[in-house]
Amino acid sequence: MQNMLDKCYVKSDKVVFRKIADEFVLVPIHKEAVDLESIFSFNETAARMWELMDGKKTGFEIAKTVAEEFKQETGEVEKDLMEFIAKLKKLNFVLEAQL
């Protein structure tokens, strides 16, 4: 799992997203009309993680930035980030960046 944070992640082009108030809302792009049930929203911390996934920063770098900004333990943020990345990968919302 630690290996996961060594990598950089890039957002999929199969999803559209927008910051709405203090949440990030994601909608997968389908051929068919999108059901409102398939909309995902993230809280502020996860939204910041998502924002930082630019294909250049590693998971460790993202976790460090988020921990500093939200005044949290880096270890805890790393754990949350790994879970978040795993979820996003499963949904094909992020891809590992090819460096």
Binding site: V15, R18, A21, V27, I29, V34
Partner: protein, 185 residues
């Protein structure tokens, strides 16, 4: 749609900085909805159509969250959180520019919707003399005439997201009458 295009052609032209700050979810007439629908079917790629659908769903989420926010903060009116689903935000380009509705063509021309970036100018006549009501009346009349042809029972102005998300969805499900009934109010 020739009559609609004839009206559009008479609207004083505007020049703008293309900052897209005003590209929100505007209200459009039924006749404009039909016009844009036809354009989309014939000119927009399946890939772009899928992205539009996803952005429409985003607008639905924004609409819901904004309503909750306004209720919580007891705010009666505020700038919409919805971004036009037909805006390509990477290039600030309108995917339906040639068929854009009246609200987009006249934005900034009248006092109430003044372009707050200061970038928009109306060519051909002073902005202070621009009367939006004239153009709204023309589209209202055209929508009414269109309705009398039996294709639309109710004439109202509805936000684009609602036309293209909810109405299209109901029409796909074969519930056109239900879709039209929802336009009341």
């Amino acid at each position: 749609m020739d009559k609609l295009n004839a009206i559009y052609k008479k609207i004083p032209k505007a020049t703008c900085r293309r900052c897209a700050a005003c590209c929100v979810d505007v209200g459009i007439y039924s006749v404009e909805y039909e016009n844009i629908s036809e354009f989309i079917k014939q000119n927009i790629s399946a890939k772009d159509r899928a992205e539009i659908q996803a952005r429409l769903a985003l607008n639905m989420a924004a609409r819901k969250k904004q309503a909750e926010y306004m209720q919580k903060k007891n705010i009666a009116e505020m700038k919409s959180w919805e971004v036009c689903a037909f805006l390509n935000q990477e290039e600030n380009a309108c995917l339906i520019y040639s068929h854009r509705p009246l609200a987009c063509r006249v934005f900034g021309a009248e006092k109430e919707s003044r372009c707050y970036t200061g970038g928009l100018k109306i060519r051909g006549r002073a902005a202070s003399k621009f009367d939006l009501q004239i153009w709204q009346d023309k589209l209202q009349l055209l929508s009414a005439a269109y309705s009398l042809s039996g294709r639309r029972e109710k004439i109202i102005v509805w936000p684009m997201s609602l036309w293209f998300y909810f109405r299209d969805k109901l029409v796909r499900q074969g519930k056109e009458a239900e879709a039209d009934a929802k336009h009341v109010g």
